[in-house]
Structures are given as structure tokens and as C-alpha cells.
Amino acid sequence: MRRYSVFAIAREALRHHQGWGRAWRAPEPKSRYDVIIVGAGGHGLATAYYLGKNHGIRNVAILEKGWLGGGNTGRNTTIIRSNYLQDPSAALYEKARSLYESLSQELNYNIMFSPRGVMMLAQTEHEVRGYRRTARANALQGVETEFIGPQRVKELCPIMNVSGPRYPVLGALWQPRGGTARHDAVAWGYARACSDMGMDIVQKCEVTGIRTERGRVAGVETTQGAIDCDKLAIAVAGHSGRLADMAGFRLPIESVALQALVSEPIKPCMDVVVMANTVHGYMSQSDKGEMVIGGGTDGFNNYTQRGSFHHIEETVRALIETFPMISRLRMLRQWGGIVDVTGDRSPIITTTPVQNLFMNAGWGTGGFKAIPGSGWAMAELMAKGEPGPLAAAFGLDRFAEGRFIDESVAAGVAH
């Protein structure tokens, strides 16, 4: 792999960038791999990367039906935080966040992790209590957060109207090392590193069937032919149910639309990430200058990648209450993603009824921030055949056993 650096750029600049190679190879699929991962989004690629890096498993193919990173990895609002209330969630997301801290250097790819700080606004007494409780739980979990008052909120985010007539800001749960990253770059960086380890990334290769022999996975049928494997992982947010169907089991998952929008780029006016759960809206400003805005999910099953008109109107209306000066700004793009929502709104990292078939699903609205941690935990699960400490609580069995990991206690919407 060609190492990226400022010197490499300088050298290339002098010869008109003729010397750059492909960021990742584009091989034909082989007939057999030790591991096949379905879905070349952040989770699938990170799983492959840590399989190679942590467990030495490198005969791996990652199959993608469309283009790499084209699912929710490329459609989210790029927020990274780990200020969760429940212990298993905090552990998993904090693992992810801490891996993000040095991911650019590790992958030799600038994913632009930007720990500008994330604040979750408390705009009702109920939220104040909830976030104070979370801050105390985080203190025990070793997640660095604090509960800050409205004055500090205003200092950190001067464009906010903290004394609005309807929902004044009463305080906020503040995670100074939360932030954002360049979502596409996360997928591209992992892809490049996987390719460099000899793994095959195959785009435009849709899995059409899963072959099993005596309850054990044997391979997949794809639009580019049948491929055998010892172990199979599925990481296809938005389509997990369909893949599970192919393997003959059903998941506790419903797919719903989540919407987001970006504004036209403007000169910097907001440095932190702000989430306002009372009004179901969140906003940050990208390095390009666009305001990135997200809302809550619709309440009904939806595979259209577009959400309800009124839903996004509500989000925007709410944000204008808190940020009256964004009103004259224009919305540039609006889009929806399909997210998989589980019974307790927490993800699933699990073995399945089919032996050697592993599932990574149900991230709801919070998948992007988890990518490195999820990949780490999933790789461990696949390599050892049983979950390590990070994944242990997120098994499929928790629904039958009644062991929920419900975050709604602390947040109206979980992003």
C-alpha cells in the first residue's frame, strides 16, 4: 500500500497525481474464503479490519450489493459520543469513541475525527434529572461527561438561544471528547486497510441466498456466483431482516426511516454538536460549513429512504426555536436512511440459530458512532465463536430472557 503523507502529496503534485493507485483493490471474488462479511459499510469493514488485525484472520471477503459505504454509513449525521446510561452501551460506545481518537493514524487515512464536544440539552426538569443521572453513571463507567448549566452552554455555543420562551435550556449533558468524523472517510479508510491486508472487497455483488449444511453455514449465493466460507457475518443495516430471512430465522427488528438534512455552507458559527431530545432535533456544523441537521424516526415500517414531510418540518421548527438565526439559511439536501430498530432500541451483536453465522444489526439511529467498537466486538465474536465482554450483553437471547438494555430512560431519542 502506498503510504499517505504530506510528502507523498508533494511528490505526486509534481507529477500531476499520476502515481496514485487505487485506494482499495477491486478483485474478482475467489470461490472460497475463511470468512465472508456481507455489507461493506462501516460495521462490515471494521469487522474485517479487526479480524485481520486482532485475530490474524485475513482470508476474508467483504461483499457489497451497491457501492462501498453507501448505506447508513454514508447517510448519517456523523455524531460520535458515548454518554450512555446503561453499562453495556457505555462500554461499547466508549470503546468505539476511544478507537476513533487515533483511527486516522492507525489507518493512515484522515477520517477527520473532530472531538469538538457534544452537548445534549436538558429542556425540561425531567431531562435535567435524566442527564444528571447519566453523568453520574458515566463517572462510574469512566466515560468523561459532566452536567453543565445554561451559562456554560451559551459560552460553548453562542448562537443558541438558551432562554427561549417555550423550552429554555436548563442545562446539558456535556461530553467534551465527543464530536464528529467524516463518515465516508471512515468506510474508505477501513476499506483501504482491509485491502492492504489482502482481503477482497467486492462491490456490486448482492447476496441472493445463504447456503447451510446441517445447521451450519456453508456459503452464499451472489450475483457474481456462489462463494463458500467457514464463517459468515451479516452487517447490512436496513436490510438485516431480509438476510435473516434467507438464513431461515426472524429478527426482533423493524425497519423505519430516519431523516436528515444539510444546509448551504456558511462561515463557521457553531463549534459543538448540539442534541435537543425534547424537540427531537440535533445539529452540528461540518468542516465544509454546512449545518447538518437530524431528527427522529418515523413510527412505521418503511424501506423508501424517505421519511414523512411533517416529521422533518417538526424537527426544523423545533431547532429554529433554539437557534432563531438559522431561519434564513437554506436547506440544501434532505434524505432518509433505513434504520433497524429493535425491541429495546439497543443493537444486536450475536450468534444465530445457524452455526457460524453471525449477525450485527439493530443499531437504530446510533450506528455510525459505534463502528470501531462494533467491529472490534464482532471480530472477537467471530474469531472465538462466543462473545467477548463488549458484545456479551447484546445477544439475541436477551429478548427471550428479559434482559433489556433500554436507553430511553435517559433520552427521548437515541442517536
Binding site: 429478527l251 423493524e254 413510527g299 412505521f300 415500517n301 418503511n302 424501506y303 423508501t304
Partner: protein
């Protein structure tokens, strides 16, 4: 954005008038039923990319729960019918088959 017609009061309205309630025609199991049935009832719900039958309530209207036959990929609504039915009406099934010839059926 969905437009639905409440089969109980006949009013056609947009989705803000209604509240979604998940998969329709689920059989609730009582005590003594195997755990698995209950788990299926609650957690292992259908999540098809295509024809789906679901419950909605005319919350800002007559208050009645009813069923909707809908496509989750195009948001096309095939019909609505009362909640007190154990299976979709034949005319709605016919309509779906006409528009989705390769549909595998509702059960």
C-alpha cells in the same frame, strides 16, 4: 407521507391524523402458551420489504383502531379495513395480487 382512509368513519386524512401500531393480525397468547409464541408475538414481527399489514389508529379522529394493507417500499396503500378481522378481506388480497403478481401471500 401517507394518506389513509379510516374504514370506521370514512374520513381520509394524512398521516398526522393517525398513529401507527405495528403488525396487524397478530394473535396474542395467554398464560400457558409457550414462551416462544409470546416472544414471536412481541419481538419477532414481520418486517417485509413489500406488502405489509399493520395497525393504525385514527387518533385525531374517531379514535378507532383499524388495519392497513400497504407496501413498505412504495408506500402504496392497497386498502384499509376494520381491526376486528382475523385476516385481510378478499377484495384487498385480490387488489394486491393484481398489482404484485409475485407476492408470496399474507401468511
Amino acid at each position: 407521507m401517507l394518506m389513509l382512509e379510516c374504514p370506521c368513519c370514512g374520513v381520509k386524512g394524512e398521516e398526522t391524523e393517525f398513529t401507527p401500531g405495528g403488525e396487524a393480525h397478530l394473535k396474542r397468547h395467554g398464560p400457558g402458551a409457550p414462551d416462544d409464541d409470546f416472544e414471536g408475538y412481541l419481538f419477532r414481527r414481520k418486517n417485509p420489504a413489500g406488502v405489509h399489514f399493520e395497525r393504525w389508529r385514527h387518533a385525531n379522529g374517531c379514535g378507532k383502531w383499524f388495519h392497513v394493507a400497504r407496501c413498505t417500499v412504495t408506500l402504496e396503500v392497497f386498502g384499509t379495513y376494520p381491526a376486528q378481522t382475523t385476516s385481510p378481506p378478499a377484495d384487498i388480497l385480490r387488489r394486491i395480487r393484481k398489482k404484485r403478481p409475485d407476492w408470496e401471500g399474507w401468511r
